[in-house]
């Protein structure tokens, strides 16, 4: 089981790095655009690329944020329960979350397919959006792996 945890953690870290690179990229892009605007030479489409970068930052950050339990949750009530009941609660919420991310991920793929069919592109640079939809979909599925890891950790008594 440790091997599986390691693989998922490494995958999450790797995606985290891409998100960090995207953050650096949108910062540099915006600064360049602001600078070039001084000479009336704006980088056309900065607005769209930055939005797109935002999707990469958030999407690729999903698994690691979850791995580190970075989302907000309220656990004072479950912490008052006996351990076995608390573990039961945690496992159920992990399963519900998995169901949710499968739904979101699957429908992001459906959305991507629809975007390919309809030919929808961004309004200025005419870039297709579907890779973003697919990408976010993949991120949701990897998030499910992280949730499985959570369950493994709970079973091993290593979940906080």
């Amino acid at each position: 089981m440790g091997g599986f945890l390691n693989v998922v953690l490494r995958l999450s870290n790797w995606m985290h790095a891409i998100a960090g690179a995207a953050l650096t990229f949108i910062m540099l892009l915006t600064v360049s655009d602001v600078f070039l605007r001084l000479f009336a030479r704006p980088i056309v489409g900065t607005f769209e690329l930055v939005g797109l970068g935002g999707a990469v930052i958030i999407g690729f950050g999903i698994p690691i944020t979850s791995w580190n339990r970075g989302h907000i949750f309220v656990d004072f009530l479950v912490n008052m329960f006996p351990d076995s009941l608390r573990d039961g609660f945690n496992i159920v919420t992990r399963l519900i979350s998995m169901g949710l991310f499968i739904l979101v991920g699957w429908n992001l793929f459906v959305l991507g397919i629809d975007m390919v069919k309809s030919g929808e592109v961004s309004t200025t640079l005419l870039m297709p959006f579907y890779p973003v939809a697919y990408g976010l979909g993949v991120c949701c599925f990897i998030q499910c792996l992280v949730l499985i890891c959570d369950i493994v950790k709970i079973a091993g008594g290593k979940y906080e």
Partner: protein, 317 residues
């Protein structure tokens, strides 16, 4: 059981519009709902959601096809690439009024019946008044615009470039502040936006470059399955009311443009009319944009050149 026949037959529909409730376009859409309810003797009940609260503007069309809203009002240009034929009209073909643009799009739809709209039922289409230039410093001739930073998104970007300006992307709510601080020196829009988005507080000049004016085409469409489930007599009423409202909407665009002129005038705003020769220079500068666009549509196997000619002929009338 216990329900009367009339109650059992009540058809309830959701209508989503991105214009906020107080905007005149939203009020007209709401009046359309009321008119439908009235003429169907209450057999149809429409719940109206303004301000993009049910579906954001850019999602409205797609969300109508999926049944998130049954009826939707939005802008074709917000989803680029999806409506290659209709979007020919979003080019700077030289518009003079909202009535003219709205008439054109409905005729255009009747003639070409673009396949891209097959996944919905079209109730009516319309398009705003001439999209022209508003600036903080006077632009009297094409050369004045050189190097000016003009707020632009989507189809307006190439127009600004062709006219010699530098297009800068900002969100619509942020544009007021961008104009105020000088991040941009101007923006292109119908006159209406000067009051609607309050830009008239900041920009001091409008250049009436009608010969190179663009428009934004808009739709009021219905989910296809919902439409097919309506009894024929109800469908007839929908079509009649919609045809009337297409006219009303065209007139409304001109009316709010006029309000935009009057309102900005009270803020000390000046309107610059271009001479015929000067206007022709602007028109010539943007011509390659729509010719290239039509050719691209043609390359997709659609009658792009014919459609462009149809529009240009109509606008010459």
């Amino acid at each position: 059981p216990g329900l009367s026949a009339a109650q059992q037959k009540t058809i309830t529909l959701n209508y989503s519009n991105f214009f906020p409730a107080p905007h005149k376009n939203s009020q007209l859409a709401e009046a359309w709902c009321k008119e439908i309810e009235k003429r169907t003797d209450g057999k149809v009940k429409i719940t109206y959601f303004p301000g993009g609260t049910l579906t954001p503007a850019a999602q409205t069309y797609e969300n109508v096809t999926k049944g998130i809203a049954d009826i939707g009002f939005s802008v074709f240009g917000y989803t680029r690439g999806r409506f290659p034929m209709i979007s020919i009209m979003d080019n700077p073909l030289g518009y003079k009024s909202g009535v003219q643009a709205t008439k054109l799009i409905n005729e255009f739809y009747k003639k070409f019946k673009p396949k891209e709209l097959d996944d919905v039922h079209v109730l009516y289409l319309h398009a705003h008044g001439p999209g022209i230039l508003h600036t903080k410093k006077a632009v009297n001739k094409l050369e004045d615009l050189k190097g000016m930073k003009i707020r632009a998104q989507g189809t307006v970007v190439p127009i600004v470039q062709a006219l010699g300006g530098a297009p800068v992307g900002t969100t619509m709510p942020e544009t007021y502040d961008a104009l105020r601080t000088g991040v941009v020196d101007g923006a292109m829009s119908p006159q209406e936006a000067l009051e609607g988005w309050k830009w008239g507080e900041i920009v001091k000049f409008t250049t009436q470059n009608f010969g190179s004016a663009y428009t934004a085409t808009m739709f009021v469409v219905m989910n296809k399955n919902k439409w097919n489930s309506l009894p024929p007599d109800i469908q007839k009423i929908f079509n009649e009311v919609s045809a009337e409202y297409a006219d009303k909407q065209g007139k409304l665009w001109d009316e709010i443009d006029k309000l935009g002129y009057d309102w900005s005038a009270t803020k000390g705003h000046k309107v610059i009319a271009l001479s015929k020769e000067e206007d022709a220079k602007w028109a010539a500068a943007v011509k390659p944009i729509y010719e290239k666009y039509a050719a691209e549509v043609q390359a997709k196997g659609l009658p792009g050149n014919e459609a462009l000619k149809f529009c240009l002929d109509f606008l010459k009338k």
